[in-house]
Symmetry: D2
Subunit: 91 residues, 4 copies
């Protein structure tokens, strides 16, 4: 069973390829000695883009794997694992 | 006047090139249908790596541009700009 | 049906009462002109304490309400609502 | 020398007293078994309010103590200390 549905997958891959380009862009900004604040703003934009990828993955995981586990009475372990992942992002 | 000193620059560029590779790795994980939680953990690792780059930039900016502005009595505008950048990361 | 089980409730209430005291402590620090960095560290401690409360609530919510909704085939709406709450903390 | 100017102080104290009330409000919501998502939203509101206090403190610290240190050639130690405080909030 695939963990991510095909449409979501395509969306995620295109977001990640854009992020890769943005990271390369930050390297270029630093090489060209651009103003620190502009670099910082660009880093924060990549951070947001990455957070969106995280969110989409998280939602997919909850609607897929976690939902499945709950329906088969294996919810608790799955939710504990989920909470650990959420904690890395948030808390 | 360059905004980033050469050693710091090299350090930042090597971090960013590693981040680029990590982002590519996440794409591969998604293509190969790896477990969502593993992907989420990898995204959170990139987030941390990116935050370190942000921190290094921020410290360099304060020790360079902001310090300079303060010494030339242009501190307030520089600190307002700095606060806006910090807010994007934190608050 | 109560949303929070009694033991969790007691735990949460004692954490919140401690947080209330910590917030009052920050006011006192400011009144007494204590060093900004010490105040900032104290604010960040309260932030962490509050995040723990958020985590406990979130986990309880997923193990209670969301699990329940999923078992009764009302999972999607419940997960959408959950994602909105998570987003406020993280992303 | 006070670290916080009087107007800023009054502003901070009134914010903190409001936050104290909000924390008390969360306790009440939990005691009354209100819906978890509403409690989570309220926690996130307090988090934002606390972040604003942190921001105001941080800005005051940079415009006061750090600026002062830089003007007296003690900038580096002051900025290192500042970076540690910032890291607790952000990264």
């Amino acid at each position: 069973m695939p963990h991510i549905d095909p449409r979501r997958k395509k969306n995620l891959l295109s977001r990640l390829s854009r992020i890769e380009g943005q990271v390369r862009g930050i390297s270029r900004m630093i090489e060209e000695d651009q103003y620190c604040i502009d670099v910082l703003n660009q880093i924060s934009a990549v951070r947001s883009a990455l957070n969106s990828v995280g969110q989409i993955m998280l939602e997919g995981h909850i609607k897929g794997c976690v939902t499945d586990a709950i329906k088969h009475d294996r919810g608790d372990a799955s939710i504990d694992e989920l909470m650990q992942a959420i904690r890395k992002y948030t808390f």
